[in-house]
């Protein structure tokens, strides 16, 4: 199977223009946008990482933009391909994970609580 072309489609007229606008919007990822997303994802990227990720995400987003060639008007999304109804279990109380074991992997704990650094800092946005 041939990988999808990364180029423009062959539509015409208004559809073509709309599609071009769409592709332009889909492909617009720049270093500032990458930094914004990294902040949302709580990741710190070095300057060289930002440059590299921008180029790589640009290539990937250019590739996936091909999906817009498909008309999906009125098509239901698939979340579980097979399940028709969610199986339910009886509402019976069962012992939860023992707190000592649940906390055993904690980097820092106090009694049955997780300890974290202070939440507010003058640097925090």
């Amino acid at each position: 199977m041939r990988p999808l072309p990364r180029s423009e489609p062959t539509a015409s007229g208004e559809v073509h223009k709309a599609r071009r606008r769409y592709v332009a919007a889909m492909s617009r990822i720049n270093p500032a946008e990458v930094e914004r997303i990294a902040d949302l994802a709580r990741l710190e990227l070095g300057a060289d990482e930002v440059q590299r990720m921008t180029a790589e995400l640009e290539a990937i987003l250019g590739y996936v933009a091909a999906l817009e060639q498909l008309d999906t008007t009125g098509v239901e999304p698939t979340f579980h391909p097979i399940l028709v109804t969610t199986p339910l279990r009886d509402d019976v109380a069962a012992p939860p994970l023992d707190p000592t074991r649940a906390l055993a992997n904690a980097p820092e704990r106090s009694g049955t609580a997780f300890v974290v650094p202070k939440v507010l800092d003058e640097d925090e946005r």
């Binding site: 199977m1 041939r2 990988p3 999808l4 889909m26 990822i29 946008e33 990458v34 997303i37 990294a38 949302l40 994802a41 709580r42 990741l43 710190e44 990227l45 990482e49 990720m53 790589e56 995400l57 290539a59 990937i60 987003l61 590739y63 996936v64 091909a66 999906l67 817009e68 498909l70 999906t72 098509v75 239901e76 999304p77 698939t78 979340f79 579980h80 391909p81 097979i82 399940l83 969610t86 199986p87 279990r89 994970l97 074991r101 649940a102 055993a104 992997n105 904690a106 980097p107 820092e108 997780f114 974290v116 650094p117 202070k118 939440v119 507010l120 800092d121 640097d123 925090e124 946005r125």
Partner: protein, 490 residues
Amino acid sequence: MPRDRFETALAQRAALDAGRVSSAELVEQSLARAEAAAELGAFVHLQPERARAEARAADARRARGERLSPLDGIPVAIKDLMVQEGEPCTCASRILEGFVAPYQGTAVAKLQAAGAVIVGRTNMDEFAMGSSNEHSIYGVARNPWDPARTPGGSSGGSAAAVAAGIVPIAFGSDTGGSIRQPASHCGVVGMKPSYGRVSRYGLVAFASSLDQIGPFARTASDCALALAAIAGHDPADSTSLLEAVPDYAGALRGDVSGLVIGMPREYFAEGADPAVLARVREAVAELERAGAKTREVSLPHAPYAIAAYYLIATAEASSNLARYDGVRFGRRAQARSLGEMYRRTRSEGFGAEVKRRILLGTYVLSAGYYDAYYRKAMQVRTLLRRDFEQAFRGCDLIATPTAPEVAFRIGEKTADPLKMYLSDIYTVSANLAGIPGLSVPCGFVNGLPVGLQLLGRALDEATLLRVADAYQRCTSWHEQHPEPSWERGG
């Protein structure tokens, strides 16, 4: 007296039943082979004491005339993202270094109830994100057929462990091809069950609507035993299906007469190595000689599968991996404030490929983009599912190549993520449509194994196993094994 390195689980079971070998001996042999194969990088953790104790228990049961299941006393391996209570589980990531699972995953619990002996945990791409097993904190896993090449990924260690004769059965997970592609590259059988066939409780989540646990083995008949051991509904996973688990071993009747094999025209056009396509066509011809019929089918949306897959998988991954924040488990970086701690922990703990996917997933889920990307991809998923439903009106199963080429060299694709993603071009559709898929060895190109992929109707794993088993009864690809060059002096 060393036993045949490439003995199947069925043969081991027969030897156990006849008293020719003990589980303790089989487990000792697996542990020794795993140690001797260190340069393959297939294992990241061995659990010799626990395995030896479990083997002794299996031997004691057998001495009393009891047997928990056909796998009782058989050594197996699991991928390092299936949690086993009391054992480490790192997903080959720095961020989970030191984590010890406080609970039992359902697949592992079922294996234990079946008496299978888990000897160790296998290497993988970090958080199952990759197609080459090169993104691992433990270093690369290598292909037993040519250690300069990758075993495929992300379940590369499980595929290599079976191909190298360390264990007859191993388990992995498949989100977009992570069982089938390494099975193809390592010359073993690998199966991704239908979505919901196997519980995901205790499978560390990558993309929750796509992930499934499945087995590797050298034969379809061993694969049937392994799948039977882990399949079935689990109250702890509401996406697991209530449907009864059929008798997979009983479905291996050895004949394929009357079955119709669909050949998707989109998959047999250009794009794959012509030599790989030739092996796959020869395999289908072999099945025709055995009595199957073939017909051309069409999956018109297949060319969009990779695009839809990488949107869905990264969106779900960015959400799932938000839990690694340094608060409750795993690595924590020192910091003065909580926000700084999150950022440092995640930046130091995740590798480059994981960060790339988190960023892409965060982007496609971020304000204003959800409909254009995630929802759109989930709609394309419906179109692809309908393609398969339409195709299966005219055939019983579908045959395709598993991968577009044989195993590639270590380092060959690491510089171009998109090129790496295209390694999964034939496999992602099954995850998107939720249907079962299996890869079975069907020959060699330049001395490297080629896999035939069989895709089936939802919940029809039995037909795939039946056809793969029938194919192995009339071919001998699975009886060809790599030279154990990785064992110094062996």
